[in-house]
């Protein structure tokens, strides 16, 4: 179905095109934004409303084997939050980890139209693609986990860097991924192979290689191949006090090449391992401010229920000791590990308040909103359904002060939050939720409203209470299709997979194959996902530089 319309009278926030709250017409035709259209086209009167591109979540966990394990782990969470069908949309279950359908619809009800699943072991890519296909409305892609991959480790150990690069390209093609993801590189193998062991230093050697060697190799390879989004890294020592040094070293390892640091809040802690953390938000964000090659998302912690869901298996083991609740830990063949557990961030707890405050500090100290992107690492820091509240925390100083009064005061006193009076503008919010992630992801048709852009548009009522405003857009248009109008679902849409197809030398398969035959549970011939398997998808071009 095509939909042609002109949106009139709305205040447009399109930072990519330097439009900051001007009243402009937006014309939509065939799923794209166009320069103009005849006057007799249908109109949406957006008087008193705010128009933004559809939101883009650069880092979340919404599909795949671990997400599904998270769902199975918590039937009680789903029972309490049913997601009923409407005339246009299907039913599902909500909670912290919603069902696939509810995930898509709930993103849409916040005005988000693109979301990237941030951690998929290659072997579960097929499962992930099926789930993403059942995640309606939004466009989506995923980052494939390669940082704890034994085969790649072996290549690095032997110094076979060209084959390493070819294998990455092969693996990204084989899985239909969007970029590579590193999670606690080098950490899973000691955990899986030795009793409860984790890596604690970026230069610690495991069988001849260290996290730094892996990070460097990935940064070099991915940048050389010109992936639209650089390696997406979850640094070593997540959550441990004193980990900010590791994070700084990780960013330094990238030199001036592009690197995306995921949920950076979890990696900005001072203090001594095993003791209460202190805030190193200023140090970390200072480095980010000074280095335009670095992008990051915050991974803000929001009070209330969350689900820890990570490929960082040793971390999950540590956390499971805190609340003695149910948990899952898994070994994903030669590729990764995994840990899942329900978690609750509580206002009165020192560490939780510190995490909350560090995230906010980083937002408020960020000098380049284009590179410091909003996320809660859904569902790790809290559900993406917290985004409106987070936006209000950033935009509304008095609300922030009010919330600060309800949390652990000992922790707050140790942060700079009391001295930070910054309030985000709507334009800056449009950057950290739309334009910024689009640029970081290299999505040229998203995150803006210029001609040729995907017609992914959100129209909010302009309200003083920003939480209410961002909680319920009046209109959501996805690929030109009206999904939500007057706060009600008016349409459905499948959304498409965003992935890349970097070139590689096919002969690399002969190198990879013997490893599969020796160590995998899956035949090499059955492993790669062929194109016939794909549903609606879009290939984003790589820009090869060497």
């Amino acid at each position: 179905m095509t939909f042609t319309t002109r949106i009139v009278n709305g205040k447009v926030y399109d930072p990519m095109n330097n439009i900051d709250g001007e009243i402009r017409d937006i014309c939509i035709e065939d799923g794209r934004i166009v320069e103009s259209m005849p006057d007799d086209a249908s109109r949406i009167d957006a008087g008193g409303m705010v128009i933004m591109p559809g939101g883009i979540d650069i880092h979340c966990h919404i599909a795949g084997a671990k997400v599904n394990a998270g769902r199975k782990l918590m039937p009680e969470d789903h029972r309490r939050d049913p997601h009923p069908e409407t005339a246009f949309t299907r039913s599902g279950t909500g909670g912290i980890v919603p069902s696939t359908f509810a995930t898509g619809y709930r993103y849409a009800t916040l005005g988000y139209t693109t979301a990237m699943e941030a951690a998929v072991p290659p072997i579960t890519a097929r499962h992930t693609l099926e789930e993403l296909d059942c995640t309606p409305i939004i466009d989506k892609g995923f980052y494939v986990l390669l940082g704890n991959n034994i085969f790649l480790h072996n290549l690095l150990r032997e110094g076979r860097h060209e084959e390493f690069r070819q294998t990455i390209a092969w693996w990204v093609n084989a899985t239909k991924a969007y970029t590579t993801k590193l999670v606690n590189p080098c950490g899973d193998e000691p955990w899986k192979g030795q009793r409860n062991k984790n890596i604690t230093d970026i230069d610690e050697k495991v069988d001849g290689i260290s996290p730094r060697i892996i990070i460097e190799a990935f940064v070099n390879a991915v940048n050389a191949m010109g992936f639209p989004h650089p390696p997406h890294i979850h640094c070593n020592n997540l959550g441990h006090s004193g980990n900010y040094k590791t994070t700084l070293e990780t960013m330094r390892t990238a030199g001036d090449q592009r690197l995306h640091v995921a949920h950076i809040q979890f990696h900005s802690y001072g203090g001594v391992t095993g003791k209460n953390p202190t805030s190193k938000a200023a140090e970390i964000i200072e480095y980010v401010n000074q280095h335009p090659n670095i992008t990051c998302d915050i991974g803000q912690v929001m009070f209330g229920n969350a689900t820890i869901m990570t490929a960082d298996a040793p971390l999950a083991y540590v956390l499971r000791g805190f609340n003695k609740n149910k948990w899952v830990n898994a070994d994903t063949e030669c590729e990764s590990g995994c840990g899942i557990l329900p978690f609750t961030y509580q206002e009165h707890v020192y560490t939780h308040t510190m995490q909350w405050a560090i995230g906010l500090e980083m937002f408020l100290l960020s000098e380049d909103p284009w590179r410091v992107i909003l996320s809660t690492d859904h569902p790790n820091g809290g559900s993406f359904m917290n985004y409106p509240k987070l936006i209000r925390l950033l935009m509304d100083k008095s609300f922030r002060r009010e919330e600060m009064g309800r949390v652990n005061q000992k922790a707050i006193a140790k942060t700079a939050l009391n001295d930070l009076d910054r309030e985000y503008t709507l334009n800056e919010i449009a950057i950290i939720t739309r334009a910024g992630p689009a640029r970081a992801l290299g999505l040229k048709n998203k995150g803006h409203l210029g001609p040729g852009a995907d017609a992914d548009i959100t129209i909010y009522d302009d309200m003083d209470d920003k939480e209410m405003m961002f909680n319920a857009p009046r209109y959501v248009i996805k690929s030109g299709i009206p999904i939500i109008a007057d706060h009600e679902f008016r349409g459905d849409h499948t959304g498409r997979l965003l992935h890349i197809t970097p070139e590689y030398d096919q002969s690399i398969e002969e190198t990879v194959k013997p490893f599969f035959e020796s160590f995998y549970s899956v035949e090499f011939g059955n492993y790669a996902i062929d194109d016939s398997y794909m549903h609606d998808h879009e290939v984003i071009q790589t820009t090869k530089t060497s």
Partner: protein, 269 residues
């Protein structure tokens, strides 16, 4: 006068009738009650399609007929009394916080899950998961009393944190599995793996039982508090021997894989 509901048409598939509850029917007239929504499978239909409605609810409801396929009766009940003159289906009194439900016949699975108060009395037998947590939840009933005169199925009182659950007859396997606290009394025999994963709480049985290896025998003694409980359930019409009242009990402590603070007391004949 009290309200009387008589089943005139037996449902083919389970009828979800959470509306049949004193709190929801108090004061309503017959026509209004007959028009209330119930789900017959996934069909939305009216209560009157299955029940003849007589009288008005003044805190008391009498229900008659074979209700074995009628679910969720008395869900979320807070006060009043429901008397069911026959068998009843699953999820009876789910989440109830007060009032009393008396079933003259047998009850299905999931009697009073997540109850916080009130009392359920089943004169016949009951199914599995009596007074338990729903799947995924760590905590079952938080209070109240469930008294089954007959036999019960597996996982009696699973994950309960407080309250009293009594089986006059035998109980199935996993009696008191994962219980946090509270009291379970089984006057008959218990199945296997009683108290598996229990943290605290008391399971009392009048018969010897197979103990898990994670339970240890502490002593044989006469626990005075048992007298209070036995006297209490005797008043509820269950049969207690004087010998049981004054007798000795083996105290088994477990589950050692958890806190090791729970106990299973077995009457020594």
């Amino acid at each position: 006068m009290s309200l009387k509901l008589s089943l005139h048409t037996k449902p083919d598939v389970p009828l979800e009738a959470a509306v049949i509850c004193t709190d929801k029917l108090n004061g309503a007239n017959e026509t209004a009650i007959a028009a209330l929504t119930v789900f017959h499978g996934n069909d939305q239909t009216a209560l009157g399609e299955f029940f003849t409605v007589k009288g008005q609810c003044d805190g008391e409801i009498h229900i008659e007929g074979d209700l074995a396929n009628v679910k969720h009766l008395g869900s979320e009940m807070t006060s009043g009394k429901m008397i069911i003159e026959g068998d009843v289906g699953q999820h009876l009194g789910a989440g109830m916080s007060g009032g009393e439900i008396i079933v003259e016949g047998n009850a299905g699975n999931w009697v009073a899950p997540e109850m916080t108060g009130g009392r359920v009395i089943i004169k016949g037998n009951a199914g599995h998961m009596v007074g338990s947590a729903y799947r995924g939840d760590a905590v079952g009933i938080l209070g109240g009393e469930i008294i089954i005169h007959g036999n019960v199925g597996n996982e009696l009182g699973s994950a309960m944190r407080n309250g009293l659950v009594v089986a006059g007859g035998n109980s199935g396997d996993f009696t008191g599995v994962n219980m946090h606290a509270g009291t379970i009394i089984v006057l008959g025999e218990m199945g296997i793996r009683s108290g598996a994963g229990m943290k605290r709480g008391t399971i009392l049985s009048m018969h010897n039982a197979d103990m898990l290896p994670t339970f240890s025998h502490a002593c044989t003694y006469h626990p005075y508090f048992v007298r209070l409980y036995l006297a209490y359930i005797k008043e509820q019409g269950l049969t207690i021997d004087d010998a049981q009242l004054v007798g000795n009990y083996q105290r088994w402590v477990g589950d050692a894989i958890e806190l090791n603070r729970g106990e299973i007391l077995l009457y020594v004949n």
